[in-house]
């Protein structure tokens, strides 16, 4: 806790020295002193303090604007203002209320017990906020954005139904590859391929719902979903020819249901966000029949996407396992020379 970075702003050299030495006596050795407001922006950038202690002097009322500068340039830093009682205290409290740029106001003269108790509380608060932010960032990488939103909005057990384009990718002959490659090497290749796919999906405003082991599932929502999903699928199929592990792509569009799977009433039970429905199964099956570097999509999504190029190969009445009726599809094999639309 005593390693926290403290920046002390005080225009008076005597009080600045007293406070700086006081901090040092109490073990706060990672402190930095600033005497003029002009130095503050550079000092904030270089020192990146956890806590800023600002010694406010009654005869410099304009210096309060520094608190706004601190919050603007270093929003992560907590600001503590030390102020004399009476009119100065009233002015600082009013400023804090109006601007919300001051975290703690403490009265002079400083009593050791009160000052260091507040300082330590502020340091603890900063540390727990930092830990929470790091955890949230870590979680954001592990959990789909939709799942985070669902959890934040206290998704009920019924889930949400909406129209979406679903995209699947899957590595071809993965069983053979994994038995011929060293596991670590396969893992590295898989990580590279899936990371690149995920990046493309984000670029086309899609969202990766899950990694399926040898591929991924993504969802595209909104008005332009058909175009974005197909365009993304084509770029992925194109990239498959240079990928360390070859893969196929499948795309379909229709009604899906998104929600958290798992019992919400049982505390501690793991819940998982998923998107389900016939459209999801269809996209997965289409991906299953696509060759490496090939995109297979339903004819209907291709018509809605209205792509100018490349021209697809029609695949009439495809029998899909689990579906009663045959589905008209189109295939884009980007490993072969494509006919361009004139």
């Amino acid at each position: 806790m005593k390693n926290s970075k403290i920046m002390l702003i005080d225009s008076d050299s005597y009080t600045s020295t007293v406070l700086f030495e006081e901090l040092s006596v109490h073990g706060f050795n990672n402190a930095h002193r600033v005497s003029s407001g002009f130095e503050v922006p550079i000092a904030l950038e270089k020192f990146a303090p956890d806590i800023v202690i600002f010694n406010y002097h009654f005869h410099q009322p304009d210096s309060l604007t520094l608190c706004s500068t601190i919050k603007l340039l270093s929003p992560e830093s907590a600001t503590m203002v030390i102020v004399s009682p009476g009119p100065a205290l009233k002015a600082v409290r009013q400023w804090a209320k109006e601007t919300k740029n001051i975290d703690v106001v403490i009265e002079k003269p400083l009593s050791d017990e009160r000052f260091y108790m507040m300082l330590e509380d502020l340091v603890k608060l900063k540390e727990s906020t930092k830990a929470l932010t790091n955890r949230t960032e870590l979680l954001a990488n592990l959990v789909p954005q939709e799942a985070m939103l669902a959890a934040e909005n206290h998704f009920n057990n019924e889930g949400e139904m909406f129209e979406a384009a679903i995209l699947f990718t899957d590595i071809r002959r993965s069983s053979k590859l994994i038995t011929t490659m060293a596991p670590r090497q396969y893992f590295e290749h898989l990580n590279t391929v899936l990371s690149a796919q995920s990046k493309e999906i984000t670029r086309y405003e899609g969202s990766v719902i899950k990694y399926t082991g040898d591929g991924l599932m993504a969802v595209f929502k909104g008005m332009g979903r058909a175009y974005l999903a197909l365009r993304c699928g084509l770029d992925l199929a194109q990239a498959a020819k240079d990928a360390a592990l070859p893969y196929g792509v499948g795309v379909a569009e229709g009604l899906v249901l998104a929600g958290l799977i798992g019992d919400s009433a049982a505390s501690g039970q793991r819940r998982q966000f998923d998107v389900i429905g016939a459209t999801v199964h269809l996209a997965s099956r289409l991906c299953g029949i696509a060759n490496a570097g090939e995109l297979i999509a339903t004819k209907s999504i291709n018509q809605r996407a209205k792509l100018n190029a490349p021209l697809p190969q029609p695949i009439q009445s495809v029998a899909i396992r689990g579906f009663d009726t045959k589905v008209d599809c189109v295939g884009f094999n980007l490993q072969q020379p494509q006919m361009q639309e004139l």
Partner: protein, 102 residues
Amino acid sequence: MKEQFNASDISKVIDQALIYQCACPAQVCKSIFELRELYDYQMNCIGDSANDQLVHQTIADATEKAHELMEKCLERILEIEGWDQKNFVMPELLKKKTTKSL
């Protein structure tokens, strides 16, 4: 209420006496501010009813006396410690003594 020291003078003394253990004049200054607040508060309260008026006037009178006494006390201690009583600047000797004691 008659004021010998204005808010700026008193704040200047407190601003220089930052730390509690070397801030006895600042304690006196703090009391003066508190007495002023108490007096203002009583002035706002006077006029509610006959009984209340007597209560608040009694407190205001006592506060005024206490305030005068504390202002005299501040004048005297600033003189003893050798403060510049025109600009309210802490004497260098006192500053050195404070810094040395840390």
